[in-house]
Each structure stands twice: as C-alpha cells, then as structure tokens.
C-alpha cells in the first residue's frame, strides 16, 4: 500500500483542522483546570492541538475510560434479566487531534493486552472507529524519554495521520495506515502532495528533536539487567518517599489494570469497569486477609518489573512509552526513569 504525504503551511494546517472539526466528531486537547484533557470540540478556538506535552493528559480515557459500563441487570418477577449496555459514547466514528507520539504508542501497547486471548469488543470498536492525528513534537520536555523506547520517525505506525514539521515552516501530513490514507484523501482540500525531499526533511527535523532529549537510556540493556533484579535491595530503598497515591497509574497511557464493581439502585444495577492501580494496598488483598504485596516496596517492585520485564516477556514490548506523565503528576516527583536506571545499575555494584 502506497502511503501519501501531503505538504502544507501553518495556515493550511489550521484550515485542515477546522475542516475536520466541522465535518467529524472531533476530540482535541481542551484546557481544563490548567491541564489539557481530550474532549469533544466544536471549534478550533476552544482547543489546542499543539498543547504542551507536560500539561496534556493521555488519550487513554477515550478508549479505556475512567469508568465504563459493562452490563446491566434487572430483577423482574420472572427472574433476573441481563443485558448489554447500549449507547457507548465513545464507540462512534471520530477523529482525535493533537495526539502525542507517546500516547499513540501507549495505545499500541494496550492493543496487545486487549487483543490477546479474549478480545475486548468495546475497546476494539473504539479503536477501529477512531482516526488518530498526531501533534508536532518539536522539543522534548524535561521528563520525556520516548526516543529511548522505540520511537522513531520511521516508526510512526501508531498514528493514522502523522503531522510533522518540515524545513522552512513547511508541514507534512503523512498517512501512516490505510485508514489514514483514505481519510486524508477525503479531506485533502487545500493540501498538495509533497515532493521527494519530504522524507529527508522529516528525518532531519526528527534528529534535531531527538537531540533535545535530556533522558536517554538503552532499554534493551535495562530489560536484561532488570530481569535478575527481583530481589534487589534498591527496591526496598527507592520508594521510601512514595505516598502510594496511585496517581502514576491513573495518568499512565499504558496502565490497564481495572476493577469491576456493581452499582445497584433498587431492582436494577449496572456493572462498571474502572481504573485501578497496583500501588493501591487493596489491589491484591484477598478476602481471607492474605495480601501478597502488603508493603510499599513490593508494590513498587511489581510496578517497575511489570513495566520493564514481565510485559516484555509476555508481549514483547515495554509497558512504558517514556512520556514522563507519572513523574510530572507525582506529588513527590519520583521518576520512573531514575528508578529503573538505579535498579539496573545496582547490578554492577
């Protein structure tokens, strides 16, 4: 399949965005309480597709909301009736603007867990009906380390349409999937097909971008090193200042643990699936009172090992995309980057 690249300028991009917003159900980062959430928008003026990275929440809630209905039940005189919930607000056709690279990669990671064995149909439907359009990342923020985790200008497959800066104020829109190709063709008014140097220019820009990263690591080395570090004393030492607030898991674009709960109202009820966090004391507490991870460092160990070892073993990817959201949100500024590096390097001591 031949994927087309279009070129435009900033003004053209704005009108491209405007056209999309007027024609489709569009979600874009909207400022709310000093941070950006992905919310349905009606006009370009109310949102900011180029929202600053540290202040933007992940796009995960559009596919895996903080709380979703799974099923309904109703007690009648004949017995109990079960029914599927209808009217999932996220299942319709839609376009998401301003998705960060790390977020989109996070969705790919989520795909792995949601599509193995039993396929989560709700999630799959939401994914299928969505067109992801990227934002332009020009500069790494303080906590970004996505280039260390598989992000490359050649591997932007997580998007349907990638928006990339070229030289001299040019902007390239590149279809990355069939869905994106089709979508771009439909909405290509005012865009010109790019010439041959586009790929080259994008690469140059990307190299400049990659050079701006403060945090770099060799993750395959980290994977290897962490494998044997389950009993590392560093795990007991590092999270002493963690307050078990669960924030990291809730903002993480790849964390997918959930809990199931029933809400009842008289004879009816709904079963919900909501976010949960492995940093929660009750996460593994069993009914008999037995808890395999009763203390903070064990939960932290589970978190770090799951992200960089277990998931890799199981699905051959890291459960971390290097977005740095957990570090930014952490009330005490614990950096996962720092933690895994310390664990990995403790081996040499």
């Amino acid at each position: 399949m031949n994927l087309t690249t279009y070129s435009t300028d900033p003004a053209g991009l704005q009108s491209f965005y405007e056209a999309i917003i007027s024609a489709h159900d569009t979600y874009a980062p909207v400022e709310k309480f000093g941070k950006y959430d992905f919310i349905k928008v009606d006009a370009l003026s109310s949102c900011n597709p180029d929202s600053p990275i540290p202040k933007t929440m992940s796009v995960k809630p559009l596919f895996f909301p903080k709380s979703a209905r799974v099923m309904k039940y109703k007690a009648t005189s004949e017995g109990t009736e079960l029914s599927d919930t209808e009217g999932d607000p996220l299942a319709g056709k839609r376009v998401v603007l301003g998705v960060k690279h790390c977020d989109a990669r996070g969705l790919q990671v989520l795909d792995a867990v949601y599509k193995w064995d039993y396929v989560d149909t709700d999630y799959e439907k939401r994914r299928e009906n969505t067109i992801l359009i990227s934002t332009r990342c020009n500069e790494a923020s303080t906590h970004c380390f996505c280039t260390s985790l598989d992000y490359d200008v050649e591997k932007l497959d997580a998007f349907d349409v990638a928006v990339i800066n070229g030289l001299d104020g040019k902007i390239y829109l590149q279809a990355r999937t069939e869905k994106g190709e089709f979508f771009l063709k439909e909405n290509a008014n005012g865009l010109t097909v790019a010439n041959g140097s586009a790929q080259e220019e994008m690469k140059q820009q990307f190299e400049k971008f990659a050079g701006s990263f403060r945090l770099k690591m060799d993750y395959s080395e980290i994977n290897e090193k962490m494998k044997g570090r389950f009993d590392s004393a560093v795990f007991e030492d590092i999270p002493a200042n963690c307050v078990s607030c669960n924030t990291c898991a809730f903002v993480c674009p790849t964390c997918h643990c959930f809990k199931i709960s029933d809400e009842k109202l008289k004879d009816e009820g709904v079963r919900y699936k909501s976010y949960d966090s492995c940093n929660n004391v009750y996460f593994t507490l069993m009914a008999g009172g037995h808890n395999p991870r009763p203390v903070k460092y064990r939960r932290w160990r589970q978190r770090a090992m799951h992200k960089f070892v277990y998931y890799k073993e199981r699905f051959d990817m890291n459960l971390c995309v290097g977005c740095g959201k957990c570090t930014i949100s952490c009330p005490v500024n614990i950096s996962i980057f720092e933690v895994v590096n310390r664990v990995a390097s403790s081996m040499q001591e």
Partner: protein, 283 residues
C-alpha cells in the same frame, strides 16, 4: 529562604549523637528544579538535604507510613506542616518523644509557575507552632484572610457554582491521591477507598467523585491546615482547596475564629461546641 546548611548540620548532629533513626527532609530530584522528600537513615547521606522555597511537600505525611512507625524521627516543618503535626499529636497518631522537630520560620514557598503560592500569601501562621529548634526569625501570626477563589465563587450565582463544580467532579478520576497525600488522612482504612467500604460506590463515576470528595472534605473540616498537599497530588489539577477553604471560612466566621492545629491539645472544631453557636438556620 535557604536553610540548607543549618538543616544538614542539625541532621548530622542528631545522627552522630544517635538521637534519631530517620530524618525526613528534602533533596533535589537531580533532573529538574523540583525537590523530592527524602528519608535519610544514616549519617553519610546528610549532605543530600536542603531547604529552599521549593521545599513544598508537607513532610508530616510520612509519619503515617511503616518507614517511620515506632522509630525516632527528625523532620523539617514549615508553619502549615507544623499545624498538621500538632493535630497528629493531639489525635495520638505519633508520639512527641519520638520526634525531633526542626521548625522553620517560613517565608512562603513557590508554586509551579515560580510565584509565591496562594496558600502562602494567605498563610495565617508561617512559623512552626511546634518545634525543638527554630530556624530563621519568626514573623508572627498574621491576620486571617478569606480565600480569594472562594470569595469569587461566592459572588457568583448558584447556577454558575453548580456548573463549575459539576465540571470539577466530572474531572475527578477517583485515584484517591488527595487522601493519600494528606497528613491528616491517616486512617488505615479510609471510608472513601472503594475497596473497603461497600457503602461507597466502587466505580469511578462523577456521582462517586461528588460523594467521595464531599465526604472527604467534611471529614477534614475544622482540621485542614491548608498545606495543599492534596492539590499538588491531584493529577487532574482540581481546585480542591475550594472545598476546604469554604469550610474553613464558615468555621472561622461562626465558631470563635477557630483555626486547625494552632494550639497544642486543640482538636478540630467539631470536637467542641459553644452555646452561642448560630442557630438561625434551624427551624
């Protein structure tokens, strides 16, 4: 405001005299200008410690974790932190004899933007109210000011407030970070933890957020010391101080100008009463 040197000296002295097992202070993250709370167990780590106007997090929070339980602890407290500590002592959560408190005459800490934080501008008591050793010159108690945000919202109509708070509760993702980062939420099983109480909703819906945040703020009414740990922890950046400051305003205005944790052995406003409390809202 820089007490780095003094704090390092004090911590070093305490360790060498074997007076403490753990010292809780701040250190640099090493990668940006923010600071991380740090629990120090030995003399050789003392030089990590520092204290500047970026030392924001309320360290009294760490007294509720297993790392400090039944240990002799030294810690640094600002004005608001010391009020929280005072309440924790009154409510018998920590033992005074296990603590060595380094009080700070605080000049205000900064928020994300680098300006002085709102709670510091409105701070009633910048100096530590409880300490074994005081750093800096105390500036004394200040006049109580009503919170600017609360006043602004109060001036709005009910519908506007309603819409505003609907958005607040909708944005809540029920991570309970507010409760975990609050030094006064020391209950091992909190009533707003979804797993422990069947009384609360398990799902992270707007309805449950309303339920939980309201209950939580009312449990802290008359006890909240306005350290804003909750707000710093909130991943959705919700203005949680509004709820607390509103309660504080009502309590200060109606119940003999009560402020939480100012004096020793003073429990929250709800643990005492006066015959002259307002009665006109009751039929």
């Amino acid at each position: 405001m820089d007490y780095t040197k003094q704090i390092q000296d004090i911590a070093g002295r305490l360790f060498s005299e074997n007076k403490i097992d753990v010292f809780i202070g701040y250190r640099n993250t090493g990668f940006d200008e923010n600071q991380v709370p740090v629990l120090i167990n030995q003399y050789k780590d003392v030089d990590q410690l520092l204290f500047t106007d970026k030392s924001v997090f309320n360290l009294a929070n760490y007294l509720k974790y297993e790392h400090t339980r039944n240990k002799r602890v030294g810690l640094v407290v600002k004005g608001c932190d010391s009020r929280a500590l005072n309440l924790m002592l009154t409510e018998k959560q920590v033992k005074r004899e296990n603590l060595y408190v380094v009080g700070i005459a605080c000049k205000g800490v900064v928020d994300e933007t680098g300006e002085m934080a709102q709670n510091c501008i409105e701070c009633v008591m910048p100096d530590a109210v409880i300490f074994d050793e005081m750093l800096g010159t105390p500036s004394g108690r200040r006049e109580y000011q009503e919170n600017a945000d609360v006043r602004e919202l109060d001036g709005k109509t009910l519908t506007e407030r309603q819409e505003y708070f609907e958005e607040v509760f909708e944005s809540c993702i029920r991570c309970n970070a507010c409760r975990h980062s609050c030094p006064l939420c020391y209950c091992a099983k909190c009533c707003i933890d979804q797993e422990t109480a069947t009384l609360f909703q398990g799902a992270n819906t707007t309805s449950s957020a309303f339920h939980a945040l309201m209950t939580w703020s009312l449990h802290l009414a008359g006890r909240c010391v306005d350290c804003r740990n909750c707000e710093k922890a909130c991943p959705s950046h919700l203005p949680l101080h509004l709820l607390h400051k509103q309660n504080e305003k009502v309590i200060y205005g109606n119940f003999q100008e009560h402020l939480a944790g100012m004096i020793e052995e003073d429990r929250g406003a709800f643990y005492k009463y006066s015959l002259s409390d307002p009665d006109d809202f009751i039929m």
